[in-house]
């Protein structure tokens, strides 16, 4: 049972990090658009 929890924790963590990549990309794009504004 705990094995399943630890495997789920690992998979969940890396899924979160993959979503974090998208978040950083979006944060960068928003900031880039802000920089371009006169």
């Amino acid at each position: 049972m705990l094995d399943l929890l630890y495997v789920a924790l690992t998979v969940g963590f890396f899924a979160l990090m993959l979503a974090y990549i998208r978040g950083c990309e979006r944060l960068g794009r928003d900031a880039g658009a802000q920089d371009e504004r006169p």
Binding site: T10, F13, C24, E25, A31
Partner: protein, 571 residues
């Protein structure tokens, strides 16, 4: 303190300087693809793994490849450790590693941390040591260097959005750098007497007539990569204090020297890649200043010893027959100078191997390793992670300097604007957030407090050191905390994961954003990044960011312990 001790530290520093350029030249050849002597092996791996080595990846694909590789290899390690009892090369019938320790160990080795809540010689089979743990020792080190190389490429790019290919960087780093270097170092260790065998453990009779079991195993090969790859996880529980791993002064020197070899060379590699060699040396100088300050403080504090001992008549002055100072937790063979040097180097880098027990250092002596970790382990640093940590700090330094003079900051011809600063700030803030939140929780929860070996400020130092060590991917322990519980195994395992990947992603984003920026020519308003002023400012930014973040916690731990020690109180 002795002249002999200072001389050894000086020789060590001189040799690190001497190898920086040759290692840097070799690193350039590894990562620009000009080294081809293992090309057939390389091609076979690409074909087998279905990798297109010519793909120039966008930073998002580079980061995703890093995460997928790490996730899969961590899960395989978890399963293999759990099933250890059914796998071969297990002459002592070691059972499967318990779930919480398997999770923590898999996370810890995947992230180049190598925090160990177990004793290797009584928990792991030879197969687990040689396949699972050693695999991560090589690949986590190569992944760290790959990320630093990707950041260097992002800064050096004049056009385009790619930062390289993660799979190629990982495989080339493993094949051309860590495998051959570890092979040579392992042979040197064996020549000096480090054991390398598959023998059964030996039962010996001591001079007092007691029975003692002497652990055997393939130690030299494990030790070589754990030092070169700044991994640090020992074959034995006593790590580099064990005479079968570190039998002579030469193995001790090679061990500590190997930690700095690749990180020092990477500064030269970086200078060459961004076509500004003097900037590479400026980063080296900033690292050296911080290293020198740390080793001098630790050596002074440990050689000075504990005033409570002196007040009770213990001779703490060094003589020809007495090392003096604080020898608790230190090997008599290595003495105070080599223990102080080792403790400083292993925490400057993200290695974590130890030849003395940091928990037994004086409060100020123990403060230095803790601060080294909390500065981000960028003083030469972990392989790759030290360089990219220092580059992030350089970006912040240039940004602050730009604010001072009221111009858009530039770093090596690239404008630093809002998106780069956001990524740099994410990188800088995640690290203390993880450490301080987990430490604060453990300082009040019964499960957290139960792990302490000492009360008062020293107990807080134990908890703070543990979470700093795992989040910084260092892995050295203060040796006082009992981390073998569901609470600590799970939280420390998670700490290693957040400390590695939650910082690598914004750093790779920074690489990608800088790659997209068009280079601008230097102008009169460009802040020079090759001068002593830049080095001073960079060191200042690192120290101030670290001090502002961690000083309150440190003042409740080692600082107050030092002050109370002066009044005769121990914890």
């Amino acid at each position: 303190m002795t002249w002999n001790g200072w001389l050894q530290i000086l020789v060590f520093s001189g040799l690190v300087l001497a190898v920086t350029k040759p290692v840097g030249i070799y690193l350039v050849r590894v990562y620009d693809g000009s080294l081809r002597w293992l090309a057939p092996v390389e091609r076979a791996i690409y074909r087998l793994a279905g990798v297109d080595p010519d793909e120039n990846q966008h930073w998002t694909r580079y980061a995703a490849a890093l995460l997928v590789f790490s996730a899969v290899s961590m899960l395989v390690t978890y399963v293999a450790l759990r099933l250890q009892g059914h796998l071969p090369l297990n002459p002592f019938q070691r059972p499967g590693v318990v779930d919480r320790q398997a999770f923590e160990t898999a996370a810890s080795f995947t992230t180049n941390t190598n925090w160990q809540s177990y004793a290797g010689e009584t928990t792991m089979s030879y197969l687990s040591q040689m396949m699972q743990l050693a695999f991560h020792n090589f690949t986590s080190a190569a992944a760290g260097v790959a990320c630093a190389v990707a950041l260097a490429r992002g800064i050096a790019r004049r056009s385009g959005t790619g930062i390289g290919n993660f799979w190629v960087d990982l495989i080339r780093g493993t094949l051309y750098l860590f495998l051959p270097a570890s092979f040579v170092l392992a042979l040197l260790f064996v020549q000096q007497g480090t054991i390398q065998n598959f023998a059964h453990y030996i039962t010996a009779t001591t001079v007092e007539g007691a029975k003692q079991v002497l652990a055997m195993g393939p130690v030299a090969s494990q030790t070589a990569i754990k030092q070169l790859g700044t991994n640090g996880g020992g074959f034995f529980n006593a790590n580099a204090a064990h005479p079968f791993e570190n039998p002579t002064p030469w193995t001790n020197f090679l061990s500590v020297f190997a930690i700095f070899v690749v990180p020092a060379g990477l500064t030269w590699f970086y200078g060459r890649t961004v076509r500004n060699q003097r900037h590479g040396w400026a980063l080296w100088a900033a690292m050296f200043v911080l290293f020198a300050g740390g080793v001098a403080t630790t050596y002074w504090a440990e050689a000075r010893g504990n005033p409570i001992h002196a007040a009770r008549g213990v001779d703490v002055v060094a003589t020809a027959t007495n090392p003096g100072g604080n020898m608790e937790g230190k090997e008599v063979r290595f003495g105070i100078a080599n223990s102080a040097l080792y403790a400083t180097v292993t925490t400057d880098a993200s290695c974590g191997a130890v030849n003395s027990m940091h928990d037994s250092f004086t409060p100020l002596g123990g403060l230095v390793p803790l601060v080294n970790i909390q500065l981000g382990e960028l003083i030469f640093g972990g392989v790759g992670s030290g360089l990219y940590g220092m580059i992030v700090m350089a970006v912040l330094t240039v940004f602050i300097a730009g604010l001072m003079v009221g111009r858009t900051p530039e770093y090596l011809g690239k404008k630093i604007q809002s998106r780069e600063v956001r990524m740099a700030m994410l990188y800088v803030l995640i690290f203390p957030a993880v450490i301080l939140v987990l430490t604060a929780a453990s300082a009040v929860l019964p499960s957290g407090l139960a792990g302490r070996n000492n009360v008062g400020p020293h107990g807080l130092s134990e908890i703070l050191y543990a979470f700093s060590s795992v989040t910084g991917n260092n892995g050295s322990a203060f040796a006082g905390l009992s981390g073998g519980s569901y609470y600590y195994n799970t939280l420390l395992g998670l700490g290693t994961l957040f400390g590695r990947f939650a910082m690598m992603v914004p750093m790779l984003a920074l690489a990608g954003f800088l790659a997209e920026r068009k280079a601008v020519p230097e102008s009169a308003g460009t802040f020079p990044v090759t001068t002593p002023l830049f080095v001073v400012l960079l060191v200042g930014v690192i120290v101030i960011v670290g001090a502002l973040t961690f000083f309150p916690a440190l003042s409740l731990g080692p600082v107050v312990e030092h002050l109370l020690m002066q009044t005769g109180r121990l914890f």
